[in-house]
């Protein structure tokens, strides 16, 4: 075949293609499966030199090195747990964004639910007290009038009328236990 035919053939071939030659983009990693695994793990790892970023987000040079290191470990057949273990052995628990549950972190993991229990306890006590309070009829018309007087606020009128002069009795209701 002569070169001319070749060129012509190539031209025809090229024109047959739509112009934005749609070749699919390549994945960034040579091994997309491993990379996906790495990315999943990296979200849970702190970039130790950054202010507060995960290894997945950071583009710091040490973060890239660490990703390369983890990639290497994964290629050598280490499980995710083994990878985490070996990172913790070098950088400590600091590298883990999900703090491991151990005696030092019991308060961290249990705290929120202790708060909730305390809250529920206090609320239950309040409810109990409120329920056993005198019935609404017991709020005397006098108390209502007094409350209304306290609510009436009038800076323009003479001072003597202002309800908040020290010593004004508060509506006597119920003693706290």
């Amino acid at each position: 075949m002569s070169p001319a035919v070749l060129v012509a053939g190539a031209l025809v071939f090229m024109m047959a293609l739509p112009l934005p030659a749609s070749q699919p983009a390549l994945p960034t990693a040579d091994d997309p499966v491993l990379e996906a695994r790495l990315n999943e793990l990296a979200v849970d790892l702190r970039c130790v030199v950054c202010q507060n970023e995960s290894l997945a987000e950071s583009r710091a040079s040490l973060a890239l090195d660490l990703r390369a290191e983890i990639r290497g470990m994964m290629r050598n057949g280490l499980t995710d747990e083994q990878v985490l273990e070996s990172l913790v052995a070098r950088y400590g628990d600091f590298v883990l964004y999900r703090p491991p549950v151990k005696p030092l972190t019991y308060a961290l993991w249990g705290g929120p639910f202790v708060f909730l229990l305390i809250g529920i306890g206090l609320a239950a006590a309040t409810l109990h007290r409120r329920r056993s309070m005198p019935e609404p009829e017991a709020v005397s018309p006098e108390a209502l009038r007094q409350a209304a007087r306290l609510l009436r606020t009038d800076p323009v009128s003479p001072a003597g009328q202002a309800p908040d002069v020290p010593g004004t009795p508060r509506p006597p209701l119920q003693q706290e236990r």
């Binding site: 090195d65 052995a89 070098r90 400590g92 600091f94």
Partner: protein
């Protein structure tokens, strides 16, 4: 009594925040302290063909200093090594990610503060030592166990207050 609980909580929080002011959130204690220093064999900077490994200095107390030619604080720290530490204890250097190959000419020009400096060009050994920033310095004992790690430059004060007591404890 219950009405004082909020104040108690505030006081306790305040105490922690006060302590927190004098802590450095970036200084992370190394879990390697008390463990055998990770092994490696790396070429020595400026001496083609020669390598160094921690096994070579087994039986000695030595310092491993992580540095890089592009780290200006490290270069300042070199002066401290030269003037202060001198013959007290041997200092070995781990040259971190010297991608531009500047370490050898630099050490030749300024005079090396190290007995030997090794070349960790891809930073893999540094990662095994849990290095985060330069400079960092490890104190390694006769058995090859890491006894201390210091993050940041060694100043004369740091040397007196932090290193000397540890080194004294390691001497028979």
């Amino acid at each position: 009594m219950r009405r004082w609980i909020p104040l108690a909580v505030v006081v306790a929080l305040g105490a922690f925040l006060y302590l927190g002011l004098y802590l450095n959130p970036k200084e992370v204690p190394s879990p390697l302290v008390g463990h055998t220093a990770p092994d490696f064999t790396l070429p020595v900077v400026g001496r083609p063909g020669e390598t160094f490994s921690p096994a070579d200095v087994r039986g000695e107390v030595w310092l491993l200093n992580i540095w890089a030619p592009w780290c200006s604080i490290c270069l300042k720290e070199h002066r401290v090594f030269r003037d202060l530490i001198g013959d007290d204890v041997p200092v070995y250097g781990l040259t971190w990610k010297d991608l531009d190959r500047e370490a050898a000419p630099l050490l030749a020009r300024n005079g090396s503060p190290y007995v030997k400096a090794v070349d960790d060009v891809d930073g893999r050994v540094a990662i095994r030592y849990g290095v985060t920033v330069t400079p960092e310095t490890f104190v390694i004992d006769h058995q090859g166990v890491i006894r201390m790690k210091h993050v940041g430059p060694i100043t004369p004060q740091v040397w007196e207050q932090k290193f000397r007591p540890v080194l004294r404890g390691l001497r028979p």
